[in-house]
Amino acid sequence: QDLAPLNSDVEPDRIDWSQLEASFGPMPTPADGTRVGGVSKTLTNEYWRSLGIGYQSAADASNVGFAYQAAPSEGDQLGQLSIAENMILQGYDALLMSPQTDNNLQPALESALSEGMVVVNVNDAVIPSVAQYVGNVQRDNGVRVAQWFIDNAEGGKVAVIEGQPGVFAAGQRTDGFTATIEAGGDFEVVASIPANWSRETAYDAASTILQQHPDLIGFYANNDGMALGVVEAVKAAGLADQVAVFGTDGISDAYASIRAGDLTGTVDSFPVLTGEVAMEVALRLLAGQDLPRVVATPQALITADNIDAYAVEDTAALRATLLAE
């Protein structure tokens, strides 16, 4: 049966991660010798390493074997495909994949399915034909930041630092932010510039933008690495008091920067927790459960106001906080 192409941001067949246990009961115990493989986008970004930590801890909790592999560098689409195929050869029961693009892992998906493996697409790029997706709503990242500006400022000039052109997450985040803030009041997006996920390029772009718009009130960057570059540019321009800077992902450096009063906020998508949920979904599928096509994972806008509530090492406590919302 052919599935309709998936758009994870709008798919109606979805469930929030918090409802899993309520709807499908407690975690089933996996069969002995169950092995799960993870194919990550890259390990050079903390986000993807944290996701792996989540996978591993959930795997340990259920006593299943786990191996985590990543493409040598972000953007190496064929390299990631080869790695996925090579893992399939090793005969895992389930595969958690975070593809570089919407389609670069398509053949791996197909051959994994033909080997009878369970495949879960975890976050970021979305394979349209995938049966199971776990991840957050990318658009929401931008929407949340825009909402903060609408709630906390009268209006003014804002700018976006985009990720790599053509990448799904970058496009959705930028879109969510721009559409929401332009509809929501007296704001003007004066610049929307690609910085290719690079801290250095983001720094240069931000200082150029500040040169031209010294009255700018805020930046939204598509990820935290770029946001931290922007923060330095804002400080160098002596505009730290006037310009709010937001990132996305919630890496630990972003937390540190918020605490230091530099970064205004980030949209944390809780990678460790996301990893745990994804592993849980995979194991439930292996146990034969029929889950909704999209399992949405948590997100929260972190600012100096709420940082202590979210900055917890222990994911059980974090779960509790998020569930309490």
């Binding site: 592999q69 040598p72 953007g75 064929l78 790695i83 050869l89 693009t101 389609n103 398509q106």
Partner: protein
């Protein structure tokens, strides 16, 4: 006479090897065998037939690009724009397929698009006399931008299933992409070693001024070489499109580095005038086996990077040592 016997002896030695092969390629082959032995010992899966086919399949796209790159490099140039050229050809081909244009026509159009990119590169290099590096660096941005703008940044889905199943099928147990690349390589070997064009390419790369004075159509040769590279990038993009079932405007990221690496491992000199079809194929397989073996051993990404760097250098050292002061 000493001369005569010496020459006779050298001839005799040569005739022991198949004609297609040269001593330089033997060094590369040795590197490959070493990698096979090491991984074969370390991982039980590595030397199984399905995995070897897997390696060939995974190497086929890089091999295809690297073959074109080899010709460009032999002619004394370089083509950094192969990845975006592939992307542009893929979106051109895919959008025609989706629009219902007959498959062969759409494929021809895709190849045409790739060759057009190559022609643009080649014409700027041959007629305007610009440096290949800078022209194709410009092309790298240009063709990528065109395919992004054309598609609005979204991949094109809906590749005809018959095309996909053709590419994903096999011939006598050999994956179709491997067969395609093998055929292409055979043709290119003949072109390089047996055709006037091959002689022209080697001459242009070896000494462009002398080639020109000897009546070699230098500009035409250069343009042909870049068109070949563009066409092979398009072919690679078709193979990939068949496998992925989509044409992505971001396709082909970093392909140029892998392709140059395969060609260089295979003995092509970036100074021009030197390179081998067989060497490049071996180079692509070396890179493919490396990645395959490291993944099979479940080496962590950072250490994979480390191993890749070390093995590339060690392979070159071995190669160098075996073939002496070539």
């Amino acid at each position: 006479m000493t001369d005569q016997t010496d020459i006779a002896r050298a001839r005799g030695l040569k005739s022991l090897l198949p004609a297609a092969f040269n001593l330089r390629d033997a060094g590369t082959l040795l590197g490959l065998i070493l990698i096979f032995v090491v991984f074969g010992v370390l991982s039980p899966v590595f030397l199984t037939a399905p995995n070897l086919l897997n390696i060939l399949q995974q190497s086929s796209i890089n091999a295809c690009i690297a073959l074109g790159m080899t010709f460009v490099i032999i002619s004394g140039g370089i083509d950094l724009s192969v990845g975006p050229t592939a992307a542009l050809s893929a979106v051109a081909g895919a959008s025609l397929m989706v629009a219902g244009v007959p498959l062969p026509l759409a494929l021809l159009a895709a190849l045409g698009a790739g060759m057009l990119c190559g022609f643009f590169n080649g014409a700027l290099i041959a007629y305007a006399g610009l440096q290949p590096f800078i022209v194709t660096l410009g092309g790298l941005s240009l063709y990528r931008a065109l395919s992004l703008i054309f598609t609005g940044g979204n991949p094109i889905f809906g590749i005809p299933p018959e095309f996909r199943s053709f590419i994903n099928g096999d011939l006598a147990g050999i994956p179709v992409p491997v067969v395609i690349v093998a055929v292409v390589a055979a043709i290119l070997w003949i072109v390089l070693n047996r055709s006037p064009l091959g002689e022209y390419i080697l001459a242009v790369g070896g000494n462009p001024e002398a080639a020109r004075i000897a009546g070699v159509p230098v500009a035409r040769t250069k343009i042909t070489v870049y068109m070949l590279s563009g066409g092979l990038a398009a072919l690679a993009s078709m193979i990939l499109m068949g496998r992925l079932g989509a044409a992505d405007p971001t396709m082909g990221n970093l392909w140029e580095l892998d392709a140059i690496a395969a060609a260089a491992i295979g003995g092509a000199s970036l100074m021009g005038g030197k390179g081998s079809v067989i060497g490049t194929l071996l180079g692509a397989v070396i890179l493919g086996s490396l990645r395959n073996g490291l993944t099979l051993m479940n080496v962590q990404a950072f250490y994979q990077l480390l191993a890749t760097g070390i093995i590339i250098i060690v392979a070159m050292l071995i190669d160098r040592a075996t073939r002496g002061k070539g």
